[in-house]
Symmetry: C2
Subunit: 216 residues, 2 copies
């Protein structure tokens, strides 16, 4: 079973720690702020009030034996960088560090972070995309040219079969699955009727998907 430690229990760090613990993993949660440590203690394996900038205290946590340590210190850029350096020097196999600016991210990468994350920036990008395309529920970018999108069934397709909807013929896209409440129809046939409220899982070229979406 993998062991994780999270240093910094702000909104991001505490969410990472809670989610890993709920999935059944061992999680050590660390913060200088006693209130934040107390708030999470019942939800993780172990929660301690430690200043990660204190090298002795950090060493005493035995983090070398953990699989992944997440550094979720935000505002205090200097601490985030120094703690990342100390963890790598201690031999932690995988250090994932949160960055607040692009420059901060570059420095973290330079000093040895194995992965750098930008939670606010990335969620900002996601929200912008979601706001612009209100009919797209979720998507996977397969390549620069192809995507899978989850699309609320366009009104004009409701009551038609897939064949009648002409999605393949006119847009060159393929319906991989239909989500209908809790049910899923996988690889639906040409005679499958589209119901109101169906979510279509569609694969195709991005430009074709966009023109399908624009038509809605």
């Amino acid at each position: 079973m993998k062991q994780f430690a999270v240093i910094g229990l702000g909104r991001f760090g505490s969410s990472v720690a809670r989610t890993l613990a709920r999935m059944g993993y061992d999680v050590l949660a660390v913060d200088t702020n006693e209130e934040r440590v107390n708030a999470i203690t019942d939800e993780v394996t172990y929660a301690v009030c430690v200043d990660a900038m204190d090298e002795q205290a950090l060493k005493s946590l035995g983090l070398r034996n953990f699989d992944v340590v997440i550094v979720a210190i935000g505002q205090d850029v200097q601490s985030s960088i120094l703690v990342t350096v100390m963890l790598k020097e201690m031999g932690v196999p995988r250090v994932v560090s949160k960055a607040v600016t692009e420059l901060h991210g570059k420095v973290l990468q330079r000093v040895g972070a194995d992965m750098v994350v930008f939670p606010e920036r990335d969620m900002g990008v996601r929200l912008a995309h979601a706001l612009v395309s209100r009919n797209i529920v979720d998507q996977i970018n397969l390549s620069p040219d192809y995507s899978i999108i989850e699309l609320i069934a366009p009104r004009e397709f409701v009551g038609k079969t897939l064949q009648e909807s002409a999605m393949r013929r006119e847009y060159g896209v393929t319906v991989l699955a239909i989500r209908r409440g809790e049910d899923i129809v996988i690889s639906p046939g040409a005679k499958q009727v589209i119901n109101e409220g169906d979510i279509l899982v569609v694969v195709g070229r991005n430009d074709k998907l966009r023109s399908l979406e624009d038509k809605l």
Copy 2:
């Protein structure tokens, strides 16, 4: 063309504003902090230094005519709530507000926010999932029971056909597509050979997908 306004230019708000502007939309960016306004002014349609808590100043922005206003004020929970209320009272059709805790989120919903977002919490959940399943590149949760996952082709399947991999027979999952660099094979046949470095797009029950993943 849709018009957007973003109030609060922290890491999240500025990312939303920048992304929308890059996509070609009209974006008005608002903050009390002059430095943050100046930093974004060249990247958005219009950036102004205004305290959104000042009702007269807020009204003078003419936000009623915008399609979506995003309230990305974080720490100051009271402002975030009051600004959301004022925007709805002014007749803004869609107000999307950032919440810092579950309770804050509930209050925002109560006072009329059309959508409440939790960027740090949600990215925390995403990172936790990504750290645990390193072979999963991306995923769509179709329902509580079904997902589509993008999976790095397991070593033991390389050189085999889909039929020989027995993914359908043993795991009950279906390979919807294979991503091979920039190319995509959609609805691959049983005779399709899996190459090293292929990314498989697989749909199936979550428990089956998990046991497929565990085997890797």
